[in-house]
Subunit: 453 residues, 2 copies
């Protein structure tokens, strides 16, 4: 009898544990080993803003699976504080530095899954000598941030970056009664959102005491002699800060893959096929370290979201274990709460659609979320970005104090199915006064768009 | 110059005003006349339970368009208290009895749209001599019921029929602190819902003080010498009642169409093509008086819902005015609130799917509505009814205290697009702790179903 097949997974945050668990489930005879350079695996990054406010109350805090639990419940061997330094594709080994024991060793593999994730993008002048500047990505840093906020009770915060994490952190820090300045490089928060929706978001920020600085280009960060951050300086002004959050996106971690000669795409992520296989037949990759096909533009895209990572991971895990699974791609579907607003940003925005070569038409409507007069009813703003040539919906934003986010999922489903506006206008959506009016806003937006096609 | 084309619409509740408005919009030169036998047009039946509780607060109460407003804003001539008695297809006239003036007259038409709606099904022994027995369908009766409840403050109510109106009325009357007994002819409320979901619903009723009587076959209604209702008698027991609500479905109003020789389907509704045209080229029909194609079974179906009626009405109105619109059909998507539960019943239920000849498999899961630990998170119960042969989703029920109903719309969209469970499992749904966990319940149910295919 030959030895058990050995599947090695590098990286333990989101994709890694999913891929490892799936591989073990598909082939229970395989030895599945997960290595992770930090102490933590399998935690929820998206919960961090709510952990900071105390709103998220789970006994395990942010950790979904502890190494012990993954080992016990999923039969995956977990080795934390183990950093993969290089891959020897010829001999099918990975050199690992064990940070706990301080030794190096080689680990053999039959199949390798790379789930090295991403790293928060930093400002060029950030450095370890300036204290109290945080990114929101790693669990250890989240715990540090939380401790700092509770102990030092900072009065003024500057957040650099108005993407969804920046917006969520703005809300989180306002809940702690901290003065918040949000500096964003574009005119409106959230990447490429339409102008009118952007204006509503900016108003929501102002109403809730967030000072929004549009088109802010951060030039430097100032600190006191002890190294405590004191100011954030843009081309146009200087903003006081006792704490700074930098949330300007992430960069795929591909140096390990690149050094091993694996193909890297134009957007900087690992290139894989639909089976999540790299250009090496026995090496798979999944998660934030990978590029992914955008199902709308049919082009390579970089979509570092846990939802996408998990699906890629299942495919990588299944295929590494000898199965045959396909991950087609994603549309990018982001939802968030910004104070009392629900925001959904689904698929391609107007400028993205134009960049992708579509003949784009947009339409915006406002309509009640429930039967007007019912408790909780509010107006929802819906914007459709449509391909005039095919009549297909390419993207949508939804914004309102009620019923915006889940309607975004209806549109995500329709976009993914390649539905036309005409098909959306024909949808048999429910009508129940506590939840929805006779004509759902999704239908009204479709009917209005039809007039432009 | 010839005279203006004249489009006559018979029936003013839901479909009529929609069809008339649409016809006028499509051909502003047409003379569009709406006739309605009662005093009221265009009101919201679905709001009645919430009007009874006082939860629905709109200055116009239940009326969407008054006759005046429809006339002013949509340029539709409205004639209330005008009952269509017969259609002379050869001479293209309708005989109308004017109940206000007490006279009969003939109205000519070039195109006719029949939107005569439906009538609540009655118990055979209901009669005008027994007072305080109500149906929930007509506005005048709703006002009477409301007045009766406020003035007489009844202590005990019996509701006959556990469909969505019966359930909503049970909640409404409990809000008014009335003892409620709900008698239903099947074991569980809501037509053909799966057993386990049914049990949850029955528990919810009991928790909220509703006495649910399953498999109850009402034999008679008792009254005191003044004719006030006192008891409802089934084969198994006698239930005290100061007020009785009968909500056992509706019957299409087709006598006018039938007498004129228009085709009636096997389910008792008017037969039309996809343009909502009857077997007479110049006569269209829409709304509860019509049968409709079920998009899942591809069979004629009777779906008396305002959502479906409105879409049919637009098609009828547009085509009567010379346009070319198609209404493909519906899937039947019902949502309701039952006390603190959200309930969605989408597409075909298990037994319906079997009756329609599908090779049916079901799967039920329970999963968190939002990230567990976030405020408002609750478990959602999701049941999928799937065609094992094609892998397509045929129907679903969703039940839970949070996030059930809008997820039903995602599934409605997928069912209508003919999506397979595999396609549903690949959906790029959002993940945001205040709204949804990493794996949406919709995805979990799909992944579990895949194991059975």
């Amino acid at each position: 009898m030959t030895r058990k097949p050995r599947i090695l997974v590098i990286g333990g945050l989101a994709a890694g544990p999913s891929a490892a668990s799936k591989a073990k489930r598909v082939n229970p005879d395989a030895e599945v080993i997960l290595i992770e350079k930090t102490k933590y695996i399998s935690y929820g990054i998206c919960e961090i803003p709510y952990y900071i406010t105390g709103e998220y109350k789970d006994k395990n805090d942010l950790v979904v699976y502890s190494p012990d639990r993954l080992q016990r419940e999923k039969n995956v061997t977990v080795r934390t504080q183990s950093e993969a330094e290089s891959i020897d594709r010829k001999n099918r080994t990975v050199q690992i530095k064990d940070h706990y024991k301080g030794v190096r060793r080689k680990e053999e593999y039959d199949k390798l899954i790379i789930t090295t994730g991403s790293t928060p993008r930093l400002l060029p002048f950030m450095n370890e000598h300036i204290k109290n500047v945080f990114t929101v990505k790693e669990l250890a840093r989240a715990y540090e941030l939380n401790t700092f906020l509770k102990r030092n009770k900072p009065k003024k915060a500057v957040i650099v970056g108005g993407g969804y994490i920046g917006l969520e952190m703005a809300e989180a820090l306002r809940h702690l009664d901290i003065d918040v300045t949000l500096i964003h490089r574009h005119a409106y928060p959230l990447s490429r959102i339409d102008e009118k929706s952007g204006e509503v978001l900016v108003s929501a920020l102002h109403e809730n005491g967030v000072h929004f600085v549009p088109e802010g280009n951060v030039k430097s960060i100032g600190a006191d002699p002890e190294g405590n951050v004191k100011t954030v300086v843009t081309e146009d002004g200087t903003y006081d800060a006792d704490v700074v959050i930098v949330a300007i996106g992430v960069i795929p971690n591909v140096s390990l893959a690149k050094d091993a000669g694996l193909d890297i795409g134009k957007l900087g992520g690992i290139k894989t096929d639909q089976k999540q296989r790299t250009n090496d037949d026995v090496i798979f990759a999944a998660g934030d370290c990978c590029e992914v096909k955008n199902l709308i533009s049919r082009r390579p895209s970089y979509i570092p979201l846990a939802t996408v990572a998990s699906k890629m991971a299942w495919t990588a895990g299944e295929n590494a274990a000898g199965g045959s699974s396909v991950f087609n791609g994603a549309i990018r579907n982001i939802a968030l709460r910004v104070f009392d607003y629900e925001v959904a940003r689904v698929g391609l925005m107007f400028s993205e659609a134009n960049d992708a070569g579509f003949n784009t038409v947009t339409e915006t409507i406002e309509a009640p979320s429930r039967v007007m007069g019912m408790p909780g009813a509010a107006r929802v703003r819906v914007t459709y970005i449509t391909d005039k040539t095919t009549g297909k919906l390419l993207g949508a934003t939804l914004l309102g104090k009620d019923g915006a986010v889940h309607r975004g999922n209806v549109l995500a489903a329709m976009i993914q199915m390649g539905a036309t506006i005409h098909e959306i206008s024909n949808l048999d959506l429910m009508y129940a006064p506590p939840f929805s009016p006779l004509w759902d806003p999704v239908l009204i937006a479709a009917n209005q768009t039809l007039k432009k096609l």
